[in-house]
Symmetry: C2
Subunit: 358 residues, 2 copies
């Protein structure tokens, strides 16, 4: 049915399609639905405290007996300068926003996520079948996951990063092309150097590592799936495409922006979290970038802008949400996840047949 | 043999493979060889004066009776501020370079290419079968080419640009993804917004226009060709991959850099010509960008750095050449063009069969 069984056999799934673990947008319903449809559902747990994470895993396990994936941001992201403070222009801008929306004081920079070790404990204790990391994978974490039988995935944005991950013991590498929405997984060099398009990145990674390669970035439908397989990938990870599914936790204003945005309406910005991530441009991103001032490191920038996002969610204001989206956004469709999965699988099979019969 | 015959029928060629018209690197031998092998050879004529251009066309026609393509930079690129002068830091840097390499005065900004109208006259008079434009296509030029039976291609870097080109009457649109080497074809918005990866760009363009779409950017071998066809493209344009062919006019130091560069060693820069173009980083690019000063508009920047490139070619100094390359550079192979064409065609057929029989 699929030309390459390496990834499906590794993960124990039927179709080589991974729904990307978009923290904040994923929930047990969507994760279980994707896994029940034969793909790999993923929950983005970076911002989920350990107790809540355990409940989330239970909620997924209640809904599916199939393999699923939980994603964590790498442990090293917990290390940052706790004394970092916004520069004068950012401080003034944030204060003005808080006044505009009737919020209290601007939060002091602090940790947003984790603690990583406790999150990983939960995943191992609850026998989560697949664990993925973003921003790199350290050997100790990979070994802990492996010791209890979990499979480990991690994103690479260059050939060198893919080799590093293979050496760290990951079971498959996600080659994240520059088209991808959300946080760049880059962990070794300046992110601008590592903005390599999926078409160029995937075959170079495939040639460099012996573990299965998962293509990510700009893959929106059967055409992207089959193209990725042609490039030598053993499967795909799709994020933006799944944001269109009605079961996703996507706020109305974000969903509306997804429906009208073109590729050039997205941009990579550090304004939200301090790390580069691709989102639909909005007032917050444009104005904060226009300050022309060094922003705070991750996750300090994330924490000082936290109340603005919370308030934006309450007001359904697209100007201050983190509207993550990849460059494939123009192909997004709103449909139930079961229907979406069935359609991309059937269309992929049909397209494979058409290409082969030419 | 190929799943989509729209492009091959349009252009009268056997295989939907276009060798990109890289000005400076292409020559009659490579163009004719690609066309004789059933693809579409292309000569980049932007910098070729009309008399020399006519001789070049004759030289190609002597070597092949098959269709071939000549590329021009759009007429509007001749319009620029003739009074533009380098800022103080750029002026000082250029003067220092000229002293270092024993050159005379830094050239005054001036026109580099054209005249466009006379170049187009030559192509029409000599019955060039395919004419392609970069940086947009104006309706008058398209109509002149069509009146004498030529087919017209032009690059788009966004969906909107593809629609504009279709309205201007082009016969096929080249969807140039952000991976591509050389000059960005962007003609409607800031180039950074139009750095859309091939995987995301191609299917969105395919859905938006009814003319055949040619995928470009990061396509290096059969995997990229078949992936592009899966995305809905009717054919591909490959540049960097052909730079590896031994018949290409590629200086030794450039060829050597191509052989050792990784994707992240390329970058998009305005330092060479004043327009954004992807090249392998070198001393000139790094140092001129580090000036942090507004550079000259195209083609003024090109002309003031002209003598440095000429001198670099004589010294075979990679530090001052324009080493154009795309993000697929890590997959480059050095082989004769006949062998390269045979191999990518055979491998594409094999891969199509493998995908179809799964």
């Amino acid at each position: 049915m699929w030309p390459d069984r390496k990834l499906t056999q590794l993960l124990g799934i039927e179709h080589p399609i991974i729904q990307a673990p978009m923290a904040g947008a994923t929930n047990p319903v969507i994760v279980a639905a994707v896994s029940n449809a034969g793909g790999l559902g993923s929950f983005g747990a970076a911002g989920t405290p350990p107790k809540k994470l355990r409940e989330t895993v239970w909620a997924i396990q209640e809904r599916t007996s199939k393999p699923f994936n939980i994603n964590l941001f790498a442990a090293h992201t917990e290390d940052f300068d706790r004394n970092a403070r916004p520069g004068p222009r950012l401080a003034e801008q944030l204060t003005a926003y808080h006044a505009e929306f009737g919020l209290g004081d601007v939060p002091v920079p602090g940790p947003m996520f984790g603690p990583f070790d406790e999150q990983l404990d939960v995943l191992i204790e609850e026998k989560v079948p697949v664990i993925s990391f973003h921003f790199g994978a350290d050997v100790a974490a990979v070994e802990r996951a492996h010791a209890d039988g979990a499979k480990v995935l991690c994103s690479a944005t260059t050939v060198d990063e893919a080799k590093t991950l293979e050496q760290a013991g990951v079971d498959a590498v996600i080659a994240q092309g520059g088209e991808a929405g959300g946080h760049r997984g880059t962990f070794s060099i300046d992110y601008e150097r590592a903005l390599i398009g999926t078409m160029a990145l995937v075959p170079q990674v495939v040639d460099a590592v012996s573990v299965p390669v998962i293509a990510a970035g700009g893959i929106m439908d059967a055409r992207g799936i089959v193209a990725s397989l042609a490039l030598g990938a053993s499967g795909v990870q799709m994020g933006t495409a799944f944001l269109g599914c009605v079961e996703m936790s996507v706020l109305d204003a974000w969903r509306s922006s997804l429906g009208s945005a073109a590729a050039e309406d997205t941009k990579i910005t550090k304004a939200v979290s301090g790390r580069p991530a691709r989102a639909i441009r909005n007032r917050y991103i444009e104005e904060v970038e226009a300050l022309g001032e060094q922003l705070l490191p991750y996750p300090a920038q994330y924490s000082v802008s936290r109340d603005l996002r919370k308030s934006a969610a309450e007001r359904d204001d697209s100007g201050f949400m983190s509207m993550w989206a990849g460059q494939g956004v123009g192909l997004i469709r709103n449909q139930p996840v079961d229907e979406f999965m069935r359609e991309i699988i059937e269309s992929s099979q049909k397209l494979l047949g058409q290409l082969g019969s030419s």
